[in-house]
Symmetry: C2
Subunit: 210 residues, 2 copies
């Protein structure tokens, strides 16, 4: 998808700075929202002068768009785990696993995504209408097939997908709340495992695939 130009000092610097900026931007956008984020703060986090950001990303909007697109890629790729399976317990279980892992590894990305959608998807509306819609139709069909084959209860596939998204992403988007309720400490390895297991078992049982 992204072409990798032959490495040279120049290209290295470019790639390095771009990812540096994108990482900083993701963090700042997640913590402050698009409106609350400032190019100056992103620059500080990235450890670069502000003018340098504008060399790589012309506008705040462009930088933001790149951040959101990156998340969307990751988000969609998690679906791969669902595809290979011919069993809901296996397929949906793996999908939950993958999405929980995303919530754990990319909480900021998840927040940016949530924020983007909450604000009416100003920059990725077209993706929602094309890529995401196709994706959703495909998985809904897959789920429907499983239902028809008697492998799970006859639930509404779309609402099942919403439940999967909601529940898994909640651990990133509302991570602060969960952390607060956990005595101010982030979930540790064991607690993450418990979270995954809980979500998986409740949902799989909920769709009659346990």
């Amino acid at each position: 998808m992204t072409d990798t130009p032959r490495p040279s000092k120049r290209n290295e610097i470019r790639a390095q700075n771009e990812t540096l900026i994108l990482q900083a931007a993701e963090k700042v956008f997640a913590e402050a929202g698009f409106g609350g984020a400032t190019m100056q703060l992103i620059a500080d986090v990235a450890g670069l002068p502000k003018a340098n950001l504008h060399y790589y990303f012309a506008t705040k909007e462009e930088l933001y768009r790149r951040v959101v697109q990156n998340i969307f890629e990751i988000w969609l790729h998690a679906a791969d785990s669902m595809d290979g399976a011919d069993d809901p317990a296996e397929g949906i279980g793996a999908y939950i696993e993958a999405k929980m892992e995303i919530s754990r590894r990319h909480p900021n990305g998840s927040k940016v995504w949530a924020s983007e959608v909450m604000h009416g998807a100003p920059v990725i509306q077209d993706y929602l209408e094309t890529t995401l819609r196709d994706w959703t139709r495909g998985r809904a069909a897959l789920i429907q097939r499983w239902i028809d084959e008697g492998k799970m209860a006859p639930v509404d596939p779309e609402h099942l997908l919403y439940m999967l998204w909601a529940t898994t992403q909640h651990y990133a988007d509302f991570g602060h709340q969960i952390e607060t309720l956990n005595g101010g400490r982030p979930l540790d390895d064991l607690q993450w495992q418990a979270a995954k297991d809980s979500v998986k078992s409740m949902i799989l049982r909920g769709i009659g695939a346990a």
Copy 2:
């Protein structure tokens, strides 16, 4: 909780304008986030001059805080539906119903709340640590009791609560996404009913209380 001063033209005007501003603010904060919202825009939506907002609410932060507190009230009150029941199917079913109704009636409030938590709860951290924590402990204990009484499967009460919050609030916070996937139209009455039924049946079955 809020004392109602004896009605007079003055107090009426005050109350009326405050709610007018709060409603406008809720909408604008939900759509633009705290950072993206401007006092000018809120004023325009409320149909008042900007200086008038500052007469009733000294600062943007104060106005925002009031909006968030209002949501929190509603949010907590939904729990009442869970309390009367001595059966998980009844109690949790009613709670889902109540929270789905909130998502439908107060989507903007839900978004403001989500945004606030996502950004680290800058203004309601103390509520999270006191009111919400107590609330959560109480309901977790209630759920545990149901489990001990053999009325439902032995799930982790906290993760069940997270799932309830996540799933129900998703219909407000990600309403735009759902609307897009629904062909650009908001869910109609029937679809909302289907959503409620889906969520309820999947979760209740998932906790062995169906």
